[in-house]
């Protein structure tokens, strides 16, 4: 499959509409969302409210994880109920690597000695590669099935990893693994809340740009057709299975990188990051924002984390209200926040 960009390709039915431009309402909403996400923590930082900077980092990373999931669910039509596996694996890569770097012990002693590292660059690379590998295995088995089977199998595989992390005592088991010192980058100070936020923000913008570019490429067109009508895609001489599998792997890589950063943000990783509630929350964020909308996950993450923070401050039982809102959105407001803010997608 040719993954290169073809800018002369005319918009085709089924392709998502072109990304942000200044001229339409959707472009304004998209730029507005990014601007709010960037400016609010900047202002908070200079007013001395570090709490809000970390909150913005949380929104950014959850949004990034959901951008990854959106590639699978929204664009690829693969309803993965197990993306917590990649989110958590990314987190554990950061945690385990930092644990061994702290102890000066190797991660693996055999067949080759791999030392621990507290370098974010090494951790990101490892998280992306390992999540890609895991998704390749899970996807290769799960994508043989469709519909409800796919949903349940991705859920079951994620649970398998959850239970494994829960009962494997070396890295804390169900108590989780603390990261005592935030992992580092050359030159810049990752311990500074604003610097760390900007790293996360960079990650989110990159993953949005990557998704947009993928969906404008020939590969994206094939993925869209695999979702809409895989028989037609097969008739055109392109096998749907490898297309889906590659999209699934890229999706997991984005979510995994978000997970690695998320563990560093919290200074802690535990099986909670792998639990099916996490998978559910990521799906909820994608749906709240609007399925298959490039900026949907960002809108959904802002709404979700704000609800969690505001309602969670009012009542211990905030998930009851989350449930009611979600039920309402699914039953009556199918197009999500982005549908409401930016109008319906033209080609849907």
């Amino acid at each position: 499959m040719n993954k290169s960009d073809t800018p002369t390709l005319a918009p085709q039915p089924g392709l998502p509409a072109p990304a942000a431009s200044w001229h339409d309402r959707k472009g304004l909403v998209q730029i507005g969302l990014l601007a709010v996400l960037l400016l609010v923590p900047l202002a908070a930082y200079f007013l001395g409210h570090v709490y809000y900077v970390n909150l913005a980092s949380r929104i950014t990373l959850v949004a990034m994880a959901a951008v990854g999931l959106n590639l699978a669910i929204g664009y690829g039509g693969m309803v993965s109920f197990g993306h917590a596996a990649y989110f958590g694996l990314g987190g554990y890569v950061a945690g385990i690597s930092a644990y061994h770097a702290f102890d000066f012990t190797p991660v693996i002693g055999w067949p080759v000695a791999i030392p621990g590292s507290d370098s974010m660059l090494a951790i990101w690379l490892a998280a992306i590669l390992l999540c890609g590998l895991l998704a390749l295995v899970i996807g290769a088995i799960s994508l043989r099935t469709t519909g409800v089977y796919f949903i349940m199998i991705t859920l079951a595989f994620a649970q398998m990893i959850y239970y494994f992390a829960n009962s494997w005592p070396t890295y804390g088991g169900e108590d989780g693994l603390p990261i005592y010192l935030r992992n580092s980058l050359p030159v810049i100070d990752t311990n500074d809340a604003l610097t760390f936020f900007l790293i996360c923000f960079g990650g989110l913008v990159l993953s949005l740009a990557l998704t947009s570019r993928i969906m404008k490429s020939r590969f994206g067109a094939a993925l869209t057709m695999a979702r809409l009508n895989d028989t037609r895609l097969a008739t055109a001489g392109i096998a749907p299975y490898p297309i889906r599998l590659v999209a699934f792997v890229i999706s997991a890589m984005i979510t995994g990188l978000a997970g690695a950063l998320y563990a560093d943000l919290n200074g802690f990783v535990s099986p909670t990051m792998l639990s099916w509630h996490m998978s559910g929350e990521l799906m909820v964020i994608v749906i709240l924002g609007g399925v298959g909308r490039l900026y949907g996950p960002l809108a959904g993450a802002i709404l979700f984390v704000m609800m969690e923070t505001l309602l969670g401050g009012l009542t211990e039982y905030w998930q009851l209200f989350l449930g009611l809102v979600l039920l309402f959105v699914v039953l009556f407001a199918k197009h999500g926040v982005m549908g409401w803010l930016a109008g319906r997608e033209r080609h849907e």
Partner: protein, 304 residues
Amino acid sequence: MTLLIEQLINGLQLGTMLFLMASGLTLVFGVMGLINLAHGSFYMVGAYATALVTATTGSFFIGLVAGLAAAAAVGALVELIVIRRLYHRPHLDQVLATFALILIFSEGTRWLFGSSPLWLNPPALLSGSVTLPGGLRYPIYRLMLIAVGVAVAVGMYFLITRTRLGMRIRAGESDREMIGALGVDIARLYTLVFAMGAALAGLAGALVGALQSVQVGMGEPVLILAFVVIVIGGIGSIKGALYGAILVGVVDTLGRVFLPLFFRQFMSPSEAAGVGSAIAAMLIYILMAVILAFKPKGLFAANE
């Protein structure tokens, strides 16, 4: 040898309880095409109602009837208010709406009854143990659970193959529009089937609740095991749910006991316990992956 037999019976007992959960799930999927994550909530409702009524009346059996009735009533209500809007929606919407229902049920229960578990003990009549042939002593209550599971399996077989309701259920599985055209009230049939599935889940919750504790979130691990069961058995197939449940119950139970013992042959005891329990926790998922690699639609695929 006694250990093996004891664990086999334990596995069978887990399997029969999983069957109670899985048969409702698979029936709802087979007839209505609905994937219902909130099935674990009915398990919890059944256990809570049984624990509360048992505590007030002092009779486990009255409690059990109340638990069944409460789960069926809640199931019917949920079907009328939410679920029937979802039949024609994509699976993604069904997953999310029923996920929302889990949040509502779990947090609602926590709000009403608090986070601490309720106590529910098996009735005195069934609390002893008996000596099985071979000298193994085994709790009567657990044997009764197996008996209940078998009775439900036999009952469902007769319900589905020999009664008018069963005929309609089978007709609904193969052609919804047609049985509607023939004058069967589909909406009522769906509510009935859904409530029946909820009652079975409530029964499982009440019975298992007396062995473990009755608390918020108790339905979730069982729900996911039940998913594995119906994926292995073939979604929509009750026969598949039965075989899948017993397979999963036995493999899971034996794995948890014997894998740590197996690894102790060539590892230190603490390491063996860690590795053994970690792999045992993954065992049924590996089993599922292997089965799906050969039979992507499960062992007894329905609606082919």
